[in-house]
Symmetry: C2
Subunit: 417 residues, 2 copies
């Protein structure tokens, strides 16, 4: 087993072990945000025929070459075509037909005059304009023809995609499966949030953070509870999680006498690939796979910030790859750091920062105490500034990359146009 | 009733009528992405006491001022403190205690030496370094003290916020309610996607698009079906939607003889505030409220693109305001348009564009046919370029504002650092 990998090396090994899941068929109405697992070709023509884009009158433009508001042309209204209806017969020279938006253009007609450009009275209509051919006519097949490629496999389905699928009668659709994730906490000091927390006891908050992070990613978490610091309890709970695509533990994968997770993982068939990543927070990260199922196992650190940051860097991209996404990573923007920072060379630091816009640039303000126990600093941050592994200082005003952790960061309080 | 408003005027009237909903209490585990309706102060201290940040040995630093790898200092290990445990007694001068990450620091001890900086043997430990006071000690209350403000009301809860709430034992939390939205389609030409679509019939795709858009916004849609073009059927279905916070209809709010929605809306108590917005796609938009419930009513156009674009501009910000969000709007970026565009002055055009990055700038490519019936052009677009109401042309290369419709647009295929 390798030890003390760089962030790059760790991510490469993890993504190599993360295999896209198979497909499943779901209701189109519930397919939003899923990754399409099939390319969809049209089985219909849309619109099915030439149709009117307006409420008005279907006409033959040759009858109206000299029509104007000063010299209206009067035509008999010989029938009406409603949306969903059809023309009683062909429109002959010198005739008009009442027509409504979406209704098929009668044979013989070649233009539609808007209601606003007419005066109707007593079975006839006065046309006040001279329409060009095809005016206000939507061409049959304008949106798509039978056989057209509508959506490529791999696309993340948005609301408009669902509308397109519905419009060709696709009420079910094949999408990539969502990974299931079993989450295990461990430690004698941990209690659940609804229990009493006596002196020295710590509420197990990681299960809440990690389950929510899984859901935000689109995966399906389940919670295996808190394992006590005994090899038997850890193993028993891990076995309950073996059906999942991914197992995420927090705490217990370290060098201490009380860290039983590593041994239990090996006992349930997990081959650890590495332990330790040269980053801060988050050094004590273990990763392995269980054969033959290929279940991924992430042993995250127990400190809340370390667990959240390692989930972001390693678990989330793996889950996204399993779900068929090609964009595995969070947005990264450039920002100027507001204060000088120093560290020893060797580990990549993820510095929690809040961001503000000033003169068209982003300023990154470190959120105070960067201890890996201070989860509240994560909640106050917009992202993680990257302090490179080999760097020893960043000067105030220097440009840094900032990984944006909250998709809502780019939302605006003003409309912006 | 006013007619033909600008986008600004319409949005102002709509937001003035959109009132934040009340609060409801939900399980913290299911509160992700909700807007916090209460400010949360800490009822606990975290960590509850000074504790060890490492696996190692609790010591008194004054005993070790001259310790080094060359001149180790040997101390008796008088007891052990596990995480969740507590010290048997005070640590006296010349003593060490075995300690694990998260365990409370024994009274008398003032530093922790990492296991890696020691050699243990037979009830004693050799210390190879001279620790500073408080080395590897996490201060009690480092994260928060009793009474500290942890999360302000109005914050959108992310995974770390749920961890913070759990860590003070808050398993339920007060959040803003989610608006319920009744969606009604109307038109004799419409059929459901699972039914046969004969010549002239159109699949009702708007219900899929709009329901998914509601869910993406965080609202709870329900679908009232397709109303036929009769005043009675429209009214009957509208009445079934009156329990909702918002009613969204598509099609039927126009000037044609077959548009029965407006009349039916008035019959169920809806006072229409305006009809028509000077934009394209999307002119035929109606908005009103039903008193005394304050239910908002949006009569969206029937064309799929018009319905999707007017939902984005008017319904989504209203829903977000009702849910307690302060960032009501989508991200807007600046981009150079790739081709010259012209139009008549008078209406603001929302031009569907796909975006590409080139030389550190965004290029906006209009997605072909901008007809309001071509929903596939929405699925191929990343956003809507703004072609101002009074403008008549935009030259190729000119800068435009582009509203980003897909929150995933900023995700990256490469890690970016």
């Amino acid at each position: 087993m390798r030890e003390g990998l760089s962030v790059d090396e760790a991510q490469e090994l993890i993504l190599a072990a993360s295999v896209p899941l198979g497909a499943e068929t779901v209701s189109t109405a519930e397919a939003a945000a899923r990754v399409l697992a099939e390319s969809v070709d049209s089985t219909r023509r849309h619109p099915p025929a030439d149709c009117s884009a307006m409420d008005g009158y279907a006409v033959r433009h040759a009858d109206l070459t000299h029509a104007s508001a000063d010299a209206p042309v009067s035509l008999p209204v010989v029938y009406e075509v409603a949306a969903g209806g059809h023309a009683a017969r062909s429109l002959e020279a010198g005739e008009a037909a009442r027509i409504f938006t979406g209704a098929p253009l009668p044979p013989g007609a070649d233009s539609v005059v808007r209601q606003e450009d007419t005066r109707a009275s007593d079975g006839r209509v006065e046309i006040l304009v001279s329409p060009e051919p095809r005016l206000h006519v939507r061409d049959g097949g304008e949106d798509f023809e039978v056989g057209d490629r509508l959506i490529e496999a791999g696309v993340v389905l948005g609301s408009s995609h669902l509308g397109v699928l519905a419009s060709i009668g696709r009420t079910i659709v094949s999408v990539s499966q969502r990974p299931t994730v079993s989450i295990l906490s461990s430690g004698d000091e941990l209690v659940e949030p609804d229990g009493p927390a006596d002196a020295g006891q710590i509420v197990s908050s990681n299960s809440y953070t990690l389950a929510a992070a899984c859901r935000e990613t689109g995966a399906e978490p389940s919670y295996l509870g808190i394992a006590r610091d005994s090899p038997e309890d850890v193993e028993r709970r891990l076995r309950a999680g073996l059906r999942a695509d991914v197992i995420v533990t927090s705490a217990g994968v370290s060098v201490g006498d009380h860290d039983h997770v590593r041994g239990a993982l090996e006992k349930v068939g997990c081959k650890l690939q590495f332990w330790g990543v040269r980053m801060k927070p988050g050094y004590p990260l273990a990763f392995g796979t269980i054969e033959p199922t290929g279940t991924l196992v992430f042993g995250l650190p127990g400190n809340p910030v370390s667990a959240a940051v390692t989930f972001e860097q390693f678990v989330r991209p793996a889950l996204r790859k399993m779900m068929g996404h090609t964009d595995l990573y969070r947005p990264v923007i450039r920002a100027r750091i507001s204060e000088r920072m120093t560290k020893q060379a060797g580990r990549l630091h993820f510095v929690r920062v809040s961001l503000e816009r000033r003169d068209g640039e982003f300023i990154a303000n470190p959120t105070g105490n960067q201890s890996s126990g201070v989860l509240t600093s994560m909640t106050r941050g917009d992202g993680l500034a990257i302090f490179a592994a080999e760097a020893e200082s960043i000067d105030a005003g220097e440009e840094v990359a900032v990984q944006i952790l909250d998709a809502g960061f780019f939302d605006q309080s003003e409309r912006g146009f």
